[in-house]
Structures are given as structure tokens and as C-alpha cells.
Symmetry: C3
Subunit: 468 residues, 3 copies
């Protein structure tokens, strides 16, 4: 008995540090302590990634302003500031609950509004996760801004912004990503691959942009009665390029941050993201060089974005070589897509429909084709289904929403205001009062007086086309 | 005895991996190893946050340049570059020691100058902590730049910058934050809540800005003899908006980084920071819309900043719903405050006094009112005391300093230089030589020849008002 | 025996949580688990640092565009976008293998091309490391862009960019850094100190820039036949300043990220980086003030960059006080160096040769002189050897490359295109179509018609000098 006692004492003595209170955890508490440090790293990584994605708002604002005219620059700043600000509040109030709240149907969530599940003593992870998701919701909204630039009424834009961040985006998001936090969306239940949102974020934005551009009709002077397309030049290329660099940076939060965990997977996602962007820029430049005779700056910048959008879905499940191929294809696709939409007279001043809608669809498909774990007809079919579901939910809903806005508070500014610029009449300002502005504000003198023809999609927008 | 020996051997055998040398730590050394990894995460987080706060210098520079005239843009770049550069050196030499050095009185520290406590074998945390603090010190200095824009002599500005980063800011900082590192400030001893510096950083900057604007007097042409206020338009709105986006990004370092630790608290701080900024922008926009008839871009941008400044103090101790309310209130306050200071003829070209001084005070008060842990008259009284102490230390000290600079090397440029622009005469340059500049450089033709009246605060600045 | 049994049972009971399966690791698995969390922190830190270094591309683009004329701004955006994009692909295909592949000679690596060593089941660290290295390779390439601005044929630039990122940079890199991953370079074998690349990145870029500027010859109108130097003004100073702020931010990834590990060393590196930049800016400003009579913005901005370049090599091995001295010296050196190259008629529009080449050499030398671990003639001799080896490898190789490009596809645009601007003829665009551009596009009227004289280094570029 004495020996047993001694042996216990001895063992206790050897291991006493393990019981010495808070300072020295036992092996069991080591596990807890290690998990805690890992979770701290997860918080840091996810929130820094969220900050980078937030900064994409600046990138979108600079790209959009750079590729449009000086007379509308204030309006574009206001739209980008407000779609994030209103979007943040809408996503806090409603969107997050719809997207990640508990769901029995798999079609949308039904609790968590106003972050109401969060209490001071609750798990703060919901807040970190919300922060990462709100910047995505705002990205979807801001994409539309570009396609509708230079002719949209500001009040109409605010209403639209509220609905995209609060309703259209979260509902589709719940189908594909709802299970990340809670519940389970029907689309993810089928095995749909969209790691960081080529479809969930970018195509949602792109198809809403298409609806907006169709309802609005083209800018005055863009298409002549004689069937000619008149280019309307962007007013500040360094600003547009800065915007693309900011977006590229932001995508290093967007894609690898979608792990919402500090782990080794982020390395391959970084590399794939970067290679796809590089390949997209290079291929878009050469495509524009061959097709138009010059290495064109707008196309090259959009090529980088096209590569980034395309790799967003497959970034975690394809090899770096595949990332190069996916980005390169996106760089070619975006040039032809921009050209195509211009031919069919859908006026998208910055190419948002092509970059986000079309290349988002391409990337989602590519996630099935280039999947490192192997592919199959079933995988590809599910990817197609997700792409189609996105279009079928977003485009008609957005079309109805824009039509409703048009019929009520109005969606398009008057022709006088469009000629004068939105800055003066909508905002009472002038973005560049110290500089002499060219007589036609970026419009070639010949183009200015010519009225635009009806869009070939005039079934959607006959009155606008007449008005312009 | 043999049994005891055997039992020991057995136990040793089972746990031998724990003693197998460096590769396999004992439970006690696990604790040390886990703490080490956590501390690495703390270093990474604190230093990345410092980098984000550093980037706010670019944000301030862009906001200030965007909201002022093209002819002073080089001067504004130089001021922002130099207040950070000189501020870094001043804070290294003197400021950090005053703020965080050992103190027996609670009024300022007395060692640690030139980072002299640091030795190659010492604790590197002091360096990480210094890095996070130096970017705060420089922020306080740079805030003043905006309110004094377009008329301050560059040499006078450099002297001022040295004193704010080296003396005015660190002394107040030691009262409120000295105990974070070493010593204990008298104000924190009373329970003053200012988590990330609504008062310590922003109000310090804001009240120094007020002193500067008062001593300088208004810009020529801003206020007419007939009692009219002539707006002087900023020259580049996309630049100003870019600056606000950069500042918003930087605030994700400013507020959550103030934990100086990688932990779960940062999630709520991120969310609160974002919601307050969003609410500030939206409310300022609607307030300007109602008050002036248009959704004004300068007010909306300042609204986002007002929300950010206001949430800086309470970000770690209020709920997300409170953050929305605090930011929303700041968005309304800032519009009326800008209007008020214009009425009383204190010419603050960018609204720095309202954004940083007034909304900093509001946020500090809100930290008492909305405190999640409950509030009381005592808490609110301490918050008031801190707000008052800040004003009573900063405003008179800065006023004396600016008066001394005015009497010695001079604080304001000559009327000729002010008309010509500071870029040419102070720096021998031209910010935009390739562009045609409008005749009046952002000043309406009618305003240019009119001399401004005396400020209603002319007791402080009688000569300047006469000179202009 | 029973007692032994009991004692074992007792011990097992106490420690049972340690064997309770996956949830509760044994002490041995704690070690693995702790290492895993640390490695996650390393991934996060290294990749965030890579993202910051990537963003330096935007900084270089803004600095270069800001310091040159409006008529070439699109060309500068395209060059900066493409040197990163083509550089990324070249470094993926060839450069990384040359630099970090296995080597028996110490002169270059021979495997790892196309990231071929990476397999889905392999160690993902190679991908994180590649990501950090590719942004360095692109930095070396982009430095050259500035010195060759406003007169280089775009197609020639693309070829050059491919060779720098794919060959010139990686080969020198393998000498100094090859052992970081695999193999061992001959220069690092001698103890050469270049922590983050004052020589490996910046001098490589700087000496290639020198070769490019020499082969190209000066811009038209820069040097008159009467021996006068005509300043050609940059068109956008806020853009240039924004670029410097972005670069400063990026350097917080460049230098501390070069640990490629989340550890405490990054604190001192941050502090040293910041202090050297601040001292460089302040000293360059005062030097320009004394030498030219005004605190000049271009020199002050370049002073910050000079301090950053100089501290890049010694950042991890000198005290903060030494960092101040190293940066201050760089700030003085850069002003005289820019002046010197202008005197000898090497036209470097942005000062890239002085900032990156000369101050890179200074910093590398300083790493030997100020070494915290003590210095010696041997250490300094090795630093000199590294500096010399860099120049002797890069300058002649780049000279030959540029000469070959000149003889084949052409390196310089025609005089007509140079006068008209590269944007129109190379890219079919106009960076600022909405703004009225001054008649002479940043060139003083007197300077425009004057033809430049032969460079005093005309042995290298006789034909160009005649052509201009």
C-alpha cells in the first residue's frame, strides 16, 4: 500500500506541471488549447480575406469610372459606395438569414435576421462568417452597376441594390452554399461545385446586369440609325487599370478566403487564382491584337478579370496547369463575348455581362471538366444544372424588378440629363471642376447628335430605345 | 520496491515520447509551444493590422487632394508623405517613450526613447507594439492636414507635424492607453473606454485641426463681405472616393487590430466597424438629400468616415445593432456639423473637424451609452471627462503651438501664393502639367476677386482674415 | 503485483483523455498538431505577404504613369499589367525551376519547371513558396519599365519581360537564394547577406533598367544640342504619390514576408522597413530643398523608395537605429544619383536606376557594415562580391538582349509615334479622352521642337541619338 502510494506520488510529481492550474494544461486541455489557437488563425485569415474582398468595391468603382465618361464619375462613386453600404444593411437585416438561416426546404433560410442568433455569450464565429459573406453579397450587387452605367436613375439604383443584396443573391446562395453554415441547399445536395462563386456571385451579378442593360436600353449615341456602333470612350485608363490591380488583389481574399479556415489548401488556390488571371490577361491581349490590330487596354484588363472570374469556381479543385488553361480560355471568350453583346446592341459600358456572367458560367463548367478528382458526365450535368438554375432564377427576377422600378419611380434618366451628365443633375456636382472638359465629353463629335436605334432586343425595351 | 520501480518504468515507457528530446515536448513544454504559436499569430495579426492602418495615409492623402483644388495637389501629397515620415521618426525618438514608457504619475512616460529599451536579445513584442502605435500617431497628425489645406506654409506644417506626433498625441495617449504596455494612465485608471481611439486618435486630430483652422483663417474667396459662403469645389471626386474606400479598408486594421492579439474578439469588431460605416454613409446621404435636395457625394463619403470614427471607441463593447445606430447617428451629425462650422466661418476644406473631432466625441460618448456590459451615470460621466480632457489638452496646446509657428517662421502663405497655388511656389511643381486647367482653378469666377470677411471667431485670427 | 496493477490503472485513468481517440491527442500527437497549426500560420502569413507584394505592381504602375506624360499612360498600364502576367507564366514555366530547382553546380536549378514537382498528393508548401517568389520575379521585371518609359516599342517590351522573369532574374536568384528551398547557390555559400533582395530583386531590375535606357537613348527633347537638360514633367502627382504609398504598403509584405514563416522576427523587420522609408523620404526632401531650393515632390517620393530598397537587404540583421541611418543615407544618395545619371544623359524618366540599382547596392553593402552580429572585412568583401556579380551578370546580358531585340523586332518607336504618344499608335487608345490636353503634352513649348543631342554614352546608342 505504501508502495502504491509512493508510486502515485512519484507519478504525480513527474506530471504535476500538467495539473498546475490554468498555466499548464493537461494533455486533454492541450487539445483544446491547440484547437483554440487554430481557430484564432481561422478568424484572422477569414477576416483579413474579408477585408481584401471589401477592397474590391474600390476596384469595381475605379474600373467602372475609368471606362466611362467624366461627366458621370460622381454618380459611379455614389453607386459603388451605396451598393456596399445599403447592401451591408440589407444583408444584415434579411440576406444572411435567407442564405444561411436554418432551412427545411433547401430553397432559403428562415432565421438569423439582423444577426439575431448572435448574443454576447454566443459563438462569435457567426460574426466572422457573416463578415466574409457580406462582402460577397455586395460584390454581386456592384457588378450590375457597370452594365447600367451612365443612364440609370440614382433612386432606382438604390432600390435595385437593396433587392439584389437582400433577396436575389441570398436565395440563389442558399441553394448552393446554405449548408456551409447551417441547413443544406438543394443544389449543393446534388454535388454542385462552386468553391468561391463563379456562379453564386459573378453569374448572379452578370445576369442581373444583363437584365438591367436590356431594360435600360443603350446609351444615347452608342448605336446609330445607320446600324453603326459608335465607341464611347472611357475617361481615365490609369484609374481603370488601378481598379483591375485592386480587384486582382481582392481576389486573393475572395478565392483562398473561401476556405474560411487557415489551412494548406489556400496555397494552391492562390497559385491557381494568379495563373488564371495572368493567362486571361495575356490571351485577351493577343486576341484583341489579332482581331482588332492593336493590343487593346480595355480588353486586356477585362481579360485579367475574366480569368479571375473563371477560376473562382474551380480554384480549389484543379491543378495549376488547368488553371492556366481555364484562364486562357476565359481571356479569349471575354473578347468575343464583349463583341457579341455589342453586335446585338446590348450596351454594357464596362463589359460586366461578359466578364461576370459569361466567364462565370465558363468557370463553373470548367470546374466540372478539369476536376482533379476526376470528372464524369454526371458531374458536368450538375454543373450545367447550376449554371441554368442561376440564369433562370436571376434573369427573369431581375427583369421583373427592373420593369417594376421603371413603371414606378423610374429607371432611366431623361435624355437631357444623360447628355448633361448624371453628376450635375442627380448629385449637383462636378467630378473634375478644375479641368477643362472636351466639348463632347468622350463622345466623338459625329456621334453626339445621332439618335440611337432600337436595340435588337427591343422587345424588352422599346420605349427606352425610342426615348434616346 | 521492485514493483514501484516497475511501475515507474512502465509509466516512463508509456510517456516516453514526451521526453524524447526537442522533437517531442512534454505536456509542460506543449503549453510553451502552444503559447509560442499563439504569439506568432498575435505578431502576424498585429503587424498586418499595422500595415492596413499605414495604408490609411494613402486614404487621407487621396481624400484631401480630391476635395481640394488641383493647384495644391502636390502640396497635399508632400504634407501627407511628410507627416507620416517625420511622425515616424518623432514617435521613434520621443513619442513612444512619452506614451508607453514607465510612468509614476500617470501623465506621461519617461523612458523607451529611440526604442532604447529594445536590445537584440530582448522581447521583440515591443517592436510589434511600436509598429502598431506609430501608425496611430501618424493618423492623428495627418487628420489636421485636411482642415489646414490650401493655405498653410509647408515649413510651418513640418514643425507642427513633429509636435503632434512627438508630443501632443503621445501625452494624451499616455493618459488613456499608457497601461496597455507599461505604467498606467490616470484616465484609464478611472475606467475610460476608448478601445481604438475615437478620442485618443481622432478627436486629438480633430481638435488640433480646429485650432489650426482658427489660427489660419479661411481660404481667400470662401466667405464674402456680404456674408455669403462660396463653395470651393474639390478637383477630383474619384480620387476622394478611392481615399474613402482605402480608409474603410484601413479601419479593418485600426479597430480589430487594437486587440493586438489574434483572438475571437476581432470578429465582432469587424462587423461593428463595417455596419457603422455603412449606416453612416446611408444616413449622411439621405440627410444631405433632404437638407440640400440632392444626394451629395462629399457628404456621403464623409458619412462613411463619420460612422467609422464613431465606432472606433465602442467597437469592442457594443452589439451590431448598436453599431448601426451609432453609425447612423454619426452620419446625421456630420452633415449638420459641417454645416455649422461653415456657418461660423471656420473653413475646413475636407470636414476633418466634424468627422474626427465631433464624431470622435460622439463615438466616445456612445461607448458609454451602448456598452454591452451595461451603462451607468458614472460610466457616462467618465466618458465625458475623457472627451473634455482631450479638448482641454489638445485645443489650447495646439492653438499656442500654431500661434508660435505663426509668429516665428510663419503659418500661412502669402495671398499671391494662395491664388497661384501652393504647388508652384512652395514646391516648384505642377501636379497636372498635361491638362488644361480651368481659369479659376475650382473657384467660381464671381468668387475669385471677392475678399473674404473676418471669421466670426476672428478673435483668434484677426490678421489672417484681414490679409485674405 | 496487485498494487502495481492498481497503480497502472490509476495512471491510465488519470491520463485516459490522452488516449481517447482522435479527439484527444497523445502528447506525441500534440507535437504534430502544434506544428500543423504553426504551419497554417506560416501559410497564411507568407501568402498574405505575397498578396501585398503583388499589389506593388499597382504601385509601380501608378508611380510610372504619374511621373510621365498623359499621352503614354495606356502604354504604361499595359506594360505593368503584362510584365506581371507574362512574368507569372514565364516564372511558372521556367524561372522557378532555374532559381529553386535542384542544382549540383550552384549556378542554376534544373527541375521543377511548370511546377511539375507538384502533385495533388504532394507538399503544398512548394505552391505557397512559388506564390511568394513569383511576385518577386515580376517586381524585378517591372522596375525596368520605368527607365524605358515613353519610347519603347510594346512588342519589344513583351519579349524583354519574358527574358527577365524567365532567365535573368532567376539565374542570379539561384546564386543567392537557391538554397532557401533546395540546392545551394554559390553566392549564399560564401555568406552573402541579402535578406529580401536589395541586390537579388532591386539591383537586378536597376541594372537591366540601365542597360535598357542606354540602348534606347534619351527621349526626344530631353537633352538639347546646346547641352541643356530639359525637364519633362510627369502628368499626375497624386497618382505618383498613391503609387509610393502602395509600394510602401507592399514592402511590408516584401521584407517581413521574406521570413516565409510566421515568427517574431517579422516585428523588427517591419520597424526597420518603416523607419528606413521615413528617413529616406525626409532626407531626400531636405537634400532637394538645399540643392534645388524647394522641397521637391518627385525627389521626396523617390527618397521613400530609396530607403525601402536600401533596407531590403539588411532589414533582418540591423537595429532600428541602423535602419534610420541606412534609409537616411539612401535618401541623400538617390538625389545625387538621379542628378548624376541626368548629367551623363542617361534618360530615366522615373529614376529607377538610382532608386533600385544604386540604392540596392548601397543597401547590400550596408547589410555588411551595420550587421548586428558584428562585421568584418570578409563580410564586407562578400557583400561587394555579390554586388559586383549582380552587375556583371545583369548589365551585359540585358545589354545584349536589348541589342538583339533592337536588331530584330525593334526596341524604340518612331519619332512620329514618340511625339504623338504611344497610346494612340501602339494601342489605338487615349487615356483621357474627356480632358483637354495641353498643346505640348507636358513638354515646355520651347523644348518640343529641339532635337536632343547624342548621349555621352553614345557608344551604346549612336543611332537612337541621331534619330531623336
Amino acid at each position: 500500500m505504501k508502495k502504491l502510494f509512493l508510486s502515485i506520488i512519484f507519478v504525480l510529481f513527474i506530471f504535476c506541471p500538467a495539473w498546475a492550474g490554468d498555466d499548464l494544461p493537461t494533455p486533454a486541455s492541450n487539445k483544446t488549447a491547440i484547437d483554440l489557437v487554430q481557430s484564432h488563425a481561422d478568424y484572422v485569415w477569414t477576416l483579413i480575406a474579408a477585408a481584401l474582398v471589401f477592397f474590391m468595391q474600390a476596384g469595381f468603382a475605379m474600373v467602372e469610372a475609368g471606362l466611362t465618361r467624366a461627366k458621370n464619375a460622381i454618380n459611379i462613386m455614389m453607386k459603388n459606395l451605396m451598393d456596399f453600404s445599403i447592401g451591408s444593411l440589407a444583408y444584415w437585416a434579411v440576406g444572411f438569414g435567407l442564405m444561411f438561416g436554418a432551412t427545411s426546404t433547401g430553397w432559403f433560410g428562415t432565421n438569423g435576421f439582423f444577426l439575431s442568433d448572435f448574443s454576447p455569450g454566443g459563438d462569435p464565429w457567426v460574426l466572422a462568417f457573416w463578415m466574409f459573406q457580406v462582402v460577397f453579397a455586395a460584390t454581386a450587387a456592384t457588378i450590375v452597376s457597370g452594365a447600367m452605367a451612365e443612364r440609370t436613375k440614382f433612386s432606382g439604383y438604390l432600390i435595385y441594390s437593396l433587392f439584389v443584396s437582400g433577396l436575389i443573391y441570398p436565395v440563389f446562395g442558399s441553394w448552393a452554399w446554405g449548408g456551409l453554415f447551417n441547413g443544406k441547399g438543394w443544389l449543393e445536395g446534388l454535388g454542385f461545385i462552386d468553391f468561391a462563386g463563379s456562379t453564386v456571385v459573378h453569374s448572379v451579378g452578370g445576369w442581373a446586369a444583363l437584365a438591367g442593360a436590356v431594360v435600360l436600353g443603350p446609351r444615347m449615341g452608342k448605336y446609330t440609325k445607320q446600324g453603326k456602333i459608335k465607341p464611347i470612350l472611357g475617361h481615365n485608363m490609369p484609374l481603370a487599370a488601378l481598379g483591375v490591380f485592386i480587384l486582382w488583389l481582392g481576389w486573393f481574399g475572395f478565392n483562398p478566403g473561401s476556405t474560411t479556415a487557415a489551412n494548406k489548401d489556400i496555397a494552391m488556390i492562390f497559385v491557381n487564382t494568379n495563373l488564371a488571371a495572368a493567362a486571361g490577361a495575356v490571351l485577351a491581349m493577343f486576341t484583341s491584337w489579332i482581331k482588332f490590330g492593336k493590343p487593346e487596354v480595355g480588353m486586356s484588363l477585362n481579360g485579367a478579370l475574366a480569368g479571375l472570374v473563371a477560376i473562382t469556381s474551380p480554384c480549389a479543385s484543379v491543378s495549376p496547369l488547368s488553371a492556366v488553361l481555364i484562364g486562357a480560355a476565359a481571356g479569349v471568350i471575354v473578347v468575343f463575348s464583349v463583341y457579341f453583346f455589342d453586335r446585338i446592341r446590348i450596351d454594357d459600358p464596362v463589359g460586366a455581362i461578359s466578364v461576370h456572367g459569361v466567364c462565370g458560367a465558363w468557370g463553373t463548367l470548367a470546374a466540372g471538366i478539369f476536376n482533379m478528382g476526376g470528372t464524369s458526365l454526371k458531374i458536368i450535368a450538375v454543373q450545367f444544372l447550376g449554371i441554368a438554375a442561376c440564369f433562370l432564377w436571376v434573369f427573369p427576377t431581375a427583369l421583373i424588378m427592373f420593369k417594376l422600378i421603371e413603371k414606378t419611380i423610374g429607371l432611366r434618366v431623361s435624355p437631357e440629363e444623360e447628355l448633361e451628365g448624371l453628376d450635375l443633375i442627380e448629385h449637383g456636382g462636378n467630378a473634375y471642376p478644375d479641368f477643362e472638359i472636351s466639348a463632347h465629353g468622350g463622345m466623338s463629335p459625329a456621334a453626339a447628335p445621332v439618335e440611337s436605334e432600337a436595340s435588337i432586343l427591343s422587345v424588352f425595351a422599346p420605349k427606352k430605345a425610342e426615348a434616346t
